[in-house]
Amino acid sequence: MQKPSLTFSVHPSSGVPIYRQLIDQVEAMIAGGRLVPGDTLPSVRDMASELGINMMTVSKAWAKLEMTGLLERSRGKGMVVAVPRNEGSTIERQAQLKPLTDQAVVRGLQLGLTDSQIQEVFTSSLQEHRHD
């Protein structure tokens, strides 16, 4: 299913290469639930002409996202958002999550929240996002 609402924006004069900007935006859209498994991404040609950027830049971003497993190539549909795979042991997957929770915890402490108050935020966020 094509999502016409999907909007990307690039800043060519940023120190962050354009392909990384695209990767970051796809990752954020997936993390934020705006892109769900099975959604089709715009083709390399459409993205390049819409954003006025080089096609190689877009294909590089899509290829890197395919390598990390966030996207997969689907025959006839182009690039689609992949179903997340639970690869690696629990400990390994927890280690992947750690840097993100560290950020949240540090921010919570800076805001003067107590341990249990921070845990409350985690719990309510879990309740919001767990659908099963």
Binding site: S13, G15, P17, R20, G52, I53, N54, M55, T57
Partner: protein, 299 residues
């Protein structure tokens, strides 16, 4: 089909005793859009003229589309497009007459495409060339260079006198033409933001040599500015190997390195017990760092 659209090897060009190009090697595969960036006097225009066979190399070899640039035949020239820095055409001819005149030299001219470009850039067909504005003259030169959909398009400062709207049109036309991955584009410019948008590769020129030639993304991924802060004053001897620029003020240092890695940052952190922040740089900043005073200490 040869692999490279442009293959320059150990090119040297001297005018009398003045060396303008000093051992330039540049290989550009077909289908790439490459930006050539350098200060005035770095040798960009001289390199471009050697590529077009307008100047004869003092030594070294220059091959375009598989043929020696100095001995290009009409058949090869028809596959090239060129926009010079300064456009001079017959002032008494109208825009339409100039297009008809130039297109007659090409058996591969695409009339529909050149009409489309003339319309897009709103060129007044019945006006004479002489009184046109600088920007309009440059637009016309672009139509003349693009009209036969050249396999290799070489542009010397093509956008210098275009307004932002026309520049955007121009960049889109270049991307449109190159989108089949068979057309190769080399353009020199001072406007780094245009280059960042459309070029996949960049060649940085300084004082007659190519300092860097690779993907633009690679350049941005690798060149970083490190800001160090230490507990006590850094010594006079403070330096980082290969740094493009080093600036030391007491306990703070700014070091721009050509290829930053976590290993390098960790090593510097340990060695100087420093807090280090890593900054991304855009093309203009990288370009400035490459031309800055390499070291400055002030304690």
């Amino acid at each position: 089909m040869t692999e490279f659209a442009i293959d320059v090897s150990h090119l040297r060009k001297q005018f009398g005793r003045k060396v303008v190009l000093n051992d330039v090697t540049l290989k550009i595969p077909r289908g790439q859009i490459t930006g050539l960036l350098g200060l005035n006097g770095a040798g960009k225009s001289t390199l471009i003229k050697c590529l077009l066979g307008l100047l004869r190399p003092t030594s070294g070899s220059v091959t375009v589309l598989g043929k020696d640039a100095w001995d290009l035949e009409d058949q090869q020239k028809m596959r090239l497009g060129y926009v010079p820095q300064e456009v001079s055409l017959y002032p008494w001819m109208t825009v339409r007459q100039i297009v008809n005149y130039v297109s007659a030299f090409y058996t591969n001219w695409d009339n529909a495409w050149s009409d489309e470009l003339l319309r897009r850039w709103e060129l007044p067909l019945s006006d004479r060339f002489g009184p046109l504005s600088v920007g309009q003259k440059q637009k016309l030169a672009l139509v003349l260079a693009l009209g036969h959909r050249p396999e290799l398009l070489i542009l010397d400062e093509p956008v210098a006198s275009l307004d932002p709207v026309a520049r955007r049109w121009f960049l889109e036309s270049i991307l449109e033409m190159a989108s089949d991955e068979r057309h190769t584009v080399l353009f020199s410019t001072h406007i780094t933001s245009d280059l960042e948008r459309v070029a996949s590769h960049v060649a940085l020129m300084k004082e007659g040599v190519i300092l860097f030639h690779d993907e633009l993304d690679t350049l941005k991924d690798q060149v970083k500015r490190l800001r160090l802060e230490t507990a006590s004053d850094l010594p006079q001897s403070f330096s980082v190997q290969g740094a493009l620029r080093t600036e030391v003020h007491g306990r703070n240092a700014i070091v721009t390195v050509p290829s930053a890695s976590t290993a390098l940052v960790d090593e510097l952190q340990d060695r100087w017990s420093a807090q280090i922040a890593v900054e991304d740089l855009n093309l203009e900043e990288i370009f400035l760092e490459m031309h800055a005073q390499p070291t400055s200490h002030s304690n």
